[in-house]
Amino acid sequence: MKILVIEDERELSGNIKKYLEADNYLCEQVFNYNDATEKLMLYQYDCILLDLNLPDGDGMKLLDEIKRKDIRSGVIIISARDSLDDKIKGLKEGADDYLAKPFSLSELSIRVYALLRRQSFSSNNILKSNEVEIDLLSKAVKVRDTIIVLTKSEYDLLLFLIGNCNRVVSKNAIAEHLSGDMADMFDNHNFVYAHIKNLKSKLGDAGCLNCIRTMYGTGYQWVE
């Protein structure tokens, strides 16, 4: 899977590349509008991460171009503009997802993951990791052929962890992923702990032990 990161902030771009490459994606970076158009002409990508504020051009125009040239890459806009208007405009113009800065890399990773899964029509809708099997359509979770019943939050949490497998996900990232905009309203994210505990015990009851590694209550990792 090839991803093009169009982002002028080099440190952010570098971190995105490193984080995504841990999941075996191939990332290429460009830092301006011109290089981006060049790359897009020459190569094919499965996913494009597009910053809207580029030093030499508007990301929206680039999105226009991608759609006009019928480039079949999924596009996720990563932008400092976070108003609803901008989101609606971006999605209307043909972007597949919109992520407002600042975002956690885990969140970005799960969005990329979801986008790529939607794009590859051939892929089956069964996700397997360790002894866990998830049917993404029916949202049924099986451990060693035993169906376990999860709440919506627990299911989302499980997907989030597996989507970021082998990487440490912060408590804050989980909180934001689970509660969306409401995350803004919390003073602490301790409720994540309760969800993790419940999920762990449900998986453990079904025989899937030690899948989730807890790091001093701050980070969580799905170990494959």
């Binding site: 902030e9 440190e11 952010l12 971190n15 995105i16 490193k18 984080y19 841990a22 400092a80 503009r81 976070d82 108003s83 609803l84 407002a100 800065k101 600042p102 975002f103 956690s104 890399l105 885990s106 990487r167 440490v168 996900v169 912060s170 408590k171 804050n172 990232a173 409401m182 803004d184 309203m185 919390f186 003073d187 602490n188 409720f191 309760a194 790091m215 001093y216 209550g217 701050t218 980070g219």
Partner: protein, 426 residues
């Protein structure tokens, strides 16, 4: 405070009274003087006429009869005491008045058959009290006329003269900096007012410009902050991936995450405020408020559960509002989260929604909050760090934006916020 026109009227009357009062004695003496001159001419004329026409055919035995019929032109025996040939003022008994009255008198020496006599020509002067009375009545009439005419003058002329001033005054009164509507002053042909209006217009335009730039600056600054925040957070995410992190290091990372989160939230709220200030939420739509409230309350449900707070809900069915959806959601969420956040374990939150108002009451700290400060930015009632001090000012701004009214009350040891959707006059 007095009105300008009334003040000038009062001052004019004080001035007029003083001037008239001071000039009254002058008037008195001038009138008396000219009256005296007039009488002097007359007595001189009479005595001259008598001497020329009558004296030759007059005999001493006719004196008594003459004197009987000519009270003011008498012939008496010569006396050296009387000043001759000049007009003097001497008191005589006046029969008509019944007492002594000042007379203008002229003594002339005449000879009848060789004997010296005195011809006395006299006319009574006006009495001082009569003159005073006359003057007072004239003055009163004059003063009264002045009063009426000046009031009328003031009413019509001055009012018209000052109209541009009052017009400008009214326009400034209805000017609000945050609404940014620069008043347009009426043209007029008075140099001072034109100058005043020009200066005012400049002053206001400058202020509006500075204010707009300031608002724009806040928005831009918030935007610019998003990128470094994104870098900061991504670095933390990368740091978390390092193998062999110790617990101490992890604690530091967690505290950095909290800081990053707080910064992000603060920045987002500032941006939201700036956007409301800049009226960037123009889209109004019809909103099913009943449905929205239910959904939002569901959304904060687990926050309430984790604090064992009971939410009781009374909702009128089918509430429909024209409002900006994003803002309305933000308003309700802020109030809800406040009610839960500033509560205690096992506390209560009551929510009542009707077409006219939304009322959110909650148990909490048993202390009334400062009504004046509660909606101000970064106002904290306690040293506790709950929220970032922007929630209620966001609520306030959203209400202001929609023309609603938000009120805080402390009733029966409960904090309550009421948002009125139909404010008279809006």
């Amino acid at each position: 405070m007095k009105k300008l026109l009334n003040k000038s009227l009062v001052q004019f009357f004080v001035y007029a009274t003083i001037v008239l009062g001071c000039s009254a004695p002058l008037f008195y003496y001038v009138m008396e003087f000219f009256y005296m001159k007039d009488l002097d001419e007359l007595i001189l004329f009479r005595s001259d006429e008598f001497i020329e026409d009558r004296l030759l055919s007059f005999f001493p035995d006719g004196i008594e009869l003459w004197n009987q019929y000519n009270e003011d032109l008498q012939i008496i025996l010569y006396s050296a005491n009387c000043p001759l040939d000049k007009c003097v003022q001497v008191p005589f008994y006046n029969k008509a008045e019944g007492h002594d009255v000042d007379y203008r008198v002229l003594y002339r020496k005449i000879e009848l058959e060789g004997e010296p006599y005195l011809l006395v020509s006299r006319i009574p002067m006006i009495e001082p009290k009569d003159l005073t009375r006359t003057l007072v009545s004239i003055y009163s009439l004059f003063f009264f006329l002045l009063l009426i005419s000046f009031t009328i003058f003031q009413k019509f002329v001055s009012k018209r003269l000052w109209r541009p001033f009052y017009d400008s005054l009214q326009k400034i009164e209805s000017f609000h900096l945050d609404e940014g509507n620069v008043p347009v002053f009426k043209k007029n042909d008075i140099a001072e007012f034109t100058r005043l209006n020009r200066l005012l217009a400049n002053l206001i335009a400058n202020n509006v410009q500075v204010y707009t730039r300031q608002k724009q600056f806040i928005e831009n600054a918030s935007h610019e902050l998003q990128t470094p925040l994104a870098v900061f957070q991504s670095q933390l995410d990368m740091l978390l991936q390092q193998p062999d992190i110790t617990e101490n290091q992890m604690n530091i990372i967690q505290s950095l995450y909290s800081v990053s989160f707080r910064l992000t939230r603060l920045n987002k709220n500032l941006l939201l405020l700036a956007k409301i200030d800049n009226s960037q939420f123009r889209e109004m739509e019809e909103i099913d408020f009943t449905g929205m409230l239910k959904a939002l309350i569901d959304g904060v449900g687990f926050l309430a559960e984790s604090n064992k707070i009971t939410i009781s809900l009374t909702l009128e069915a089918g509430m429909l509002f024209i409002a900006n959806k994003t803002l309305l959601e933000s308003l309700v969420t802020n109030l809800l989260v406040n009610a839960i956040r500033h509560n205690y374990r096992d506390g209560d939150v009551w929510i009542t929604g009707t077409k006219d108002y939304l009322l959110i009451r909650n148990t909490g700290k048993k202390m009334e909050l400062d009504r004046q400060k509660i909606f101000q930015r970064f106002n904290r009632n306690t040293e506790e760090r709950k929220g970032n001090g922007l929630g209620l000012s966001i609520v306030y701004q959203i209400c202001k934006f929609h023309g609603w009214k938000i009120e805080y009350d402390y009733v029966e040891e409960m904090h309550q916020f009421t948002c009125f959707f139909h404010v008279s006059g809006s």
